[in-house]
Symmetry: C2
Subunit: 360 residues, 2 copies
């Protein structure tokens, strides 16, 4: 029996890529790079050589059940856990751990976001394979820390502590840090002690449930009540009732920043969280004028360093733009300076308030 | 019997408003100002108090027959003349004159473009009424010259000569001038002798056909062959055969610049030929930041002096644009500096050559 499981969290909304992403089709479901595969599909493709489809569990919002079945026909319906309400990562992870433990008490789990880019896939699987062995061997919580390619102010950082003997690249975590300012980020990167927090986690089902019991009793107690139902036909009825009562809290805040058995494996995976247009811009291939084109035909004479992400087999003719995002999807068109992209979240809110839900 | 007729020329393509206008739906068929009426419909609305619907003849390309029937259900099908090929204005006018003369040998005709703006409609009808009487009284060709509101370099100019006694505001035409450069245009306007060429013409059917016979024998002879057929069921078969053989020549060049009985009535009609985005920009109502919005909802923080003409109930979020045209229709999006708008024609050609007809 294969005790390795993968939980892919794919319930996020993500308004930063509006209007390319929509409430009805968030970022993870988009064919981001025009390769024919969505970020979620790429995530599954990437893990499949390591973990068989029957051991891959998707946790998502109930609203996305149809998209997921459409995009991932090979994942069994029973492996798709549908959250009846939007909460943060801790409730999602706690439920998934219970569900998996009910199937396999010896399970070890790698938990992944569904909307990141990883260029070095072989290395990625090697790192996870080693990590799974590390957490199977003892009561440990492991996170993946990435070599910081730049003093990025949009990421959290993990400070490494004492290395673990016989496990190359694995250290005790000294501290987690929220997004730093640029000066601080530069100090972090130069120190060699800080790594980007990837949001990828490894642990045994037993270890993470034990950690919940110790550090987040509210969530633990809520989901412990479901132990008679996990893995049975009554699981979803229980979740329907219990899940909305869960606190909205991140796994970092609920567990990782508090537990004393947290480790980090450092790696260089060619990773980006694709958290913003700028991140996409820095990742995707550009033409000789520094422009990126996605899903459309573009004719420009004097445009530079811009992203053209327009859906629906359109032609875009533009001139005089430098450093712009031109993004269109369905009934919404965005023409925005990339340097102002942090405002897009607020703009989406304004659009919703002024014009209604149908545009977001 | 009412001998007054109106010919509305509505077969033009007009690529300067791409992608707002399309090959399949040129400018004259668009609801340009969001009033619920297309420019063509507005043209008909404007003339109807003067000339009854049964005396209004539309000349257009066969490709637009359906749009015209849809937009103008009150115009009899027999009053829509369908050109089987694209030619310039002279063949169109020659055919229409023959057609009308076959119905009414005493007809006097006002010929109008279908895609212009006229703000002073009462004055417009007063001017045309007087003009119709002027051309009914004698063998004269009359054009309308407009008070030049600015030294516009996109218009042709008419220089007035000797005034005609007893016909206030009507003069002999001294010369027609093509689009001048700015310096010349300023001299024109200051002189008080030059008026914008409106492209509106008045004459009796007899007079214009006589002028064709004198000054454009090729066109005259071609359409004279159809005299047995005009106004009969065999007219369209004749036209199908003959029209494509007509030379592509403008009425100005074929007749007006050559004839010696050409007069001009000057007027102030609040007129624009809406020949470009800039012309539209100068005409339509702007918000406090100088922006114009057509057919969409726009959210901008820092955009100025721009046109947002996006079709299909969309929201547009933009920032940092000054003096831009943002126009979208079906599968084409244009984001272009208004100062460069003279390049749009070429761009449309490039789009056609690079990506195909379906985008234009």
């Amino acid at each position: 029996m294969n005790h390795n499981y993968c939980v892919i969290m794919c319930g996020g909304v993500g308004s930063r890529f509006w209007p390319f992403s929509r409430n009805s089709r968030p970022k993870q479901f988009l064919d981001f790079f025009g390769t024919g595969r969505s970020l979620l599909q790429l995530t599954v493709d990437r893990i499949l050589p390591l973990i068989p489809a029957e051991n891959i569990i998707l946790v998502t919002n109930a609203a996305y059940a149809d998209i997921i079945r459409e995009q991932l026909p090979d994942i069994l319906p029973g492996n798709i856990l549908l959250e009846p309400a939007r909460r943060n990562t801790a409730p999602c992870i706690c439920w998934a751990a219970h569900h998996i433990q009910s199937l396999d008490p010896e399970a070890v789990i790698v938990t992944l976001p569904s909307d990141h880019l990883i260029l070095r896939e072989e290395e990625f699987r090697k790192v996870l394979e080693e990590g799974l062995r590390f957490v199977a061997a003892d009561d440990r919580l492991l996170t993946i820390g990435l070599n910081p390619a730049s003093p990025h102010t949009g990421y959290g950082y993990i400070q490494i502590g004492r290395p673990v003997a016989d496990w190359p690249g694995i250290s005790k975590v000294k501290s987690f840090t929220e997004k730093p300012d640029l000066e601080m980020a530069k100090v972090f990167v130069e120190s060699g002690e800080f790594y980007w927090n990837s949001g990828m986690f490894l642990w045994s089902a037993t270890s993470i449930l034990r950690a919940f019991a110790r550090y987040d009793q509210e969530t633990a107690s809520l989901f412990n009540d479901g132990i008679p139902f996990y893995g049975t036909p009554r699981e979803s009825a229980f979740i329907e009732e219990a899940f909305p009562k869960a606190p909205s809290i991140s796994i970092d805040y609920a567990i990782m920043e508090k537990a004393d058995n947290v480790f980090v494996k450092t790696a260089d995976l060619g990773w980006s969280d694709l958290g913003s247009w700028k991140a996409l811009y820095e990742t995707a291939p550009r033409d000789k004028r520094g422009n990126i084109t996605q899903g459309c035909r573009v004719l420009t004479n004097d445009c530079h360093n811009s992203v053209f992400a327009v859906r629906g087999d359109k032609v875009v003719v533009a001139d005089g733009l430098d450093g712009y995002i031109v993004a269109e999807n369905e009934n919404a068109l965005l023409i925005y300076p990339m340097s102002e992209e942090q405002k897009i979240r607020n703009v989406v809110n304004d659009v919703k308030n002024l014009f209604g839900d149908k545009y977001i």
